[in-house]
């Protein structure tokens, strides 16, 4: 079984994003970048499927500028077999990303595509579902367990009320939630080996798709800041404040 894993290069999750002074966007100059944490979980899941003998080949794909080679190499060091970079300087929305990915799916015919549920920059939570629609495949989103059996995959999903399990016909699309697995670190020998694994580059503009967005980003602002609060000395003082100052409890 071939598994395709789309990975995105994003701001490191430990870094607090700052808004540019001219309010046009977030300032990413000299900011530490990394693989989106949900994509790391997706790569890890694919590698585990390969270790179990379920997956035979893992292909990773990233859409963006040349700098995402860094994240593709990381994925190769973690156990992916080959990588595809779809080169574009455009700041694409999830729909355009899903369209490009659907082209890759058409070419590669993976039986399983594992994506992150959400990228931590745009916080869209859309791409996997859109890819499922465009390829007419079933979707198992926010997965905390993935079990491949015969020509189906059982996906346990983290939903608002608890957990839901669905059974999907393969080929299918899965998106990862935080508790699916704990990603490993790449070992030094594997990082060296990854340098020799194949990484193909395609140019997004040559893939015959309309990539312009009809969503205009008008402004990016700082969120309203909370007024600094006070420290209280005791439980008694806390209760007094909550009752008489904040008036949130009786």
């Amino acid at each position: 079984m071939k598994v395709l894993v789309p990975v995105k290069r994003v701001i490191d999750y430990n870094v607090k994003a700052r808004v540019k002074a001219d309010n046009t966007d977030v300032d990413l100059t000299n900011v530490k970048m990394a693989m989106n944490p949900f994509c790391e979980i997706a790569v890890e899941e694919a590698v585990r499927l390969k270790e179990k003998g379920t997956a035979t080949e893992i292909v990773v794909v990233s859409i963006g500028s040349k700098s995402c080679h860094e994240q593709l190499r990381t994925a190769l060091a973690l156990g992916a077999d080959r990588a595809i970079h779809i080169d574009t300087e455009l700041n694409l929305g999830s729909l355009q990303v899903a369209k490009l990915l659907s082209k890759v799916v058409e070419e590669e015919q993976p039986e399983l595509v594992i994506l992150g549920k959400q990228s931590i920059d745009a916080d869209n939570n859309q791409t996997g579902q859109m890819l499922a629609a465009l390829t007419n495949r079933p979707q198992g989103t926010f997965a905390s367990e993935v079990v491949v059996e015969d020509n189906k995959v059982a996906v346990t999903r983290e939903v608002d009320g608890g957990l839901q399990t669905v059974s999907l016909n393969l080929p299918a699309i899965v998106t990862t939630d935080l508790r699916l697995n704990e990603p490993r670190y790449a070992s030094l020998p594997n990082i060296m080996k990854a340098k020799r694994k194949p990484l193909d580059v395609k140019v997004a503009a040559d893939m015959g798709l309309e990539l312009s967005s009809k969503i205009n980003l008008l402004k990016v602002e700082e969120p309203s800041q909370r007024e600094g609060g006070v420290m209280v000395e005791s439980v008694d003082e806390l209760l007094e404040k909550l009752r008489n100052e904040a008036k949130v409890i009786a």
């Binding site: 999750y13 607090k16 994003a17 808004v19 977030v26 999830s94 729909l95 899903a98 549920k117 959400q118 931590i120 745009a122 916080d123 939570n125 859309q126 791409t127 996997g128 579902q129 859109m130 499922a132 629609a133 465009l134 079933p138 979707q139 989103t141 059982a154 983290e158 939903v159 608002d160 009320g161 608890g162 957990l163 839901q164 399990t165 669905v166 059974s167 999907l168 016909n169 935080l178 508790r179 009809k214 969503i215 980003l217 008008l218 990016v220 602002e221 969120p223 909370r226 600094g228 006070v230 420290m231 209280v232 439980v235 806390l238 209760l239 404040k241 909550l242 904040a246 949130v248 409890i249």
Partner: protein, 308 residues
């Protein structure tokens, strides 16, 4: 201009997320229709017909829709889409699951998680875990939107819309529901509660959450958790508050043994009053707390419960 809102419910109860999404749509202007898709969901439709501002409720009542499978629900919404300028759902796990499937089928970019309506085509939404707020405008003829319900108020139940039944739905035949394990609780739901008390890694284990439950019962509060507490297996996943869990904005949020990572703050910093109880005076949670108590939670919580 007519908006189709896909209701959030569990076949027996209409969720307040729906009431709040109606508030958001009211700010966009135009007529509002609500789709209740489910199985045995007539009473939900009757409830939805009371939401102030809703003029029509469409009911699709069929076994295939019982569990909100995106493969069956999305085509139903897409079939209805012709008549609507806006298609909206609350940004719950149900809405997040099927709406992008609808958007892609309509060749429209979805706007996720709006927190403010600027006009019928312009919205504000948080990005980067809420560290920035983007104002975005959609040039699409049809707008596909999910609403962060914590940012809106619930509309009243003073309306009386007509209820229309829809014809049978089709089975996409590519997915099946197997089972669900829902957390049973007597307490209010996290996203609907006026008071939320959450515990983090500092709680040390699941049993210690009873310290929070005693207080929650006295305050009529819901109990939440940080990701660290969920990952460590103290409590189930549906209790996670944060960027990638539930977003809450109650009148009072009490964070106990939670350090205040960016991802946790993203889920609760719009609460009206925030209380933090932590033994580390440097914990970042104190920077967003209105009232901070530097204390050992194992001493502070029993005292708090007794004195409430």
């Amino acid at each position: 201009m007519i908006t189709l809102l896909v209701a959030e419910h569990d076949n027996s109860e209409l969720k307040l997320d729906t009431h709040k999404a109606v508030d958001a749509i009211t700010k966009m202007g135009g007529d509002i229709h609500v789709l209740v898709a489910g199985a045995g969901c007539q009473s939900v439709a009757e409830h939805a017909a009371k939401l102030q501002g809703v003029s029509k409720v469409l009911v699709a009542d069929h076994d295939l829709l019982a569990h909100g499978l995106a493969e069956n629900l999305a085509p139903l919404v897409v079939d209805l889409a012709d008549d609507y300028s806006h298609i909206v759902a609350p940004a719950t796990t149900t809405g997040k699951n099927f709406m992008p499937r609808v958007a892609a089928a309509l060749d429209v970019e979805q706007i996720s998680d709006i927190i403010e309506v600027v006009s019928s085509d312009t919205f504000k939404r948080p990005i980067y875990a809420g560290n920035a707020i983007a104002t975005v405008q959609s040039e699409y003829a049809k707008k596909v939107i999910t609403v962060r319900t914590a940012a809106f108020d619930k509309v009243s139940e003073t309306g009386s819309a007509e209820i229309v039944s829809l014809e049978a739905v089709a089975d996409a035949g590519i997915s099946n529901f197997v089972k669900q394990e829902l957390t049973e609780s007597e307490r209010p739901e996290l996203t609907a509660a006026g008071v939320v008390i959450s515990g983090g890694r500092g709680m040390q284990n699941g049993d210690n959450f009873t310290l929070l439950e005693g207080i929650a019962d006295k305050l009529g509060a819901a109990v939440g958790a940080s990701r660290a507490a969920v990952d460590a297996g103290f409590v189930p996943n549906d209790m996670q508050v944060g960027q990638t869990g539930k977003i809450v904005a109650p009148d009072l949020y009490i964070a106990v043994g939670i350090s205040g990572a960016i991802q946790h703050l993203a889920g609760m910093k719009d609460s009206k009053v925030i209380v933090a109880i932590n033994k580390d005076p440097e914990a970042p949670i104190f920077q967003v707390a209105d009232y901070g108590l530097e204390a050992d939670l194992f001493e502070a919580l029993p005292e708090l419960e007794t004195k409430l």
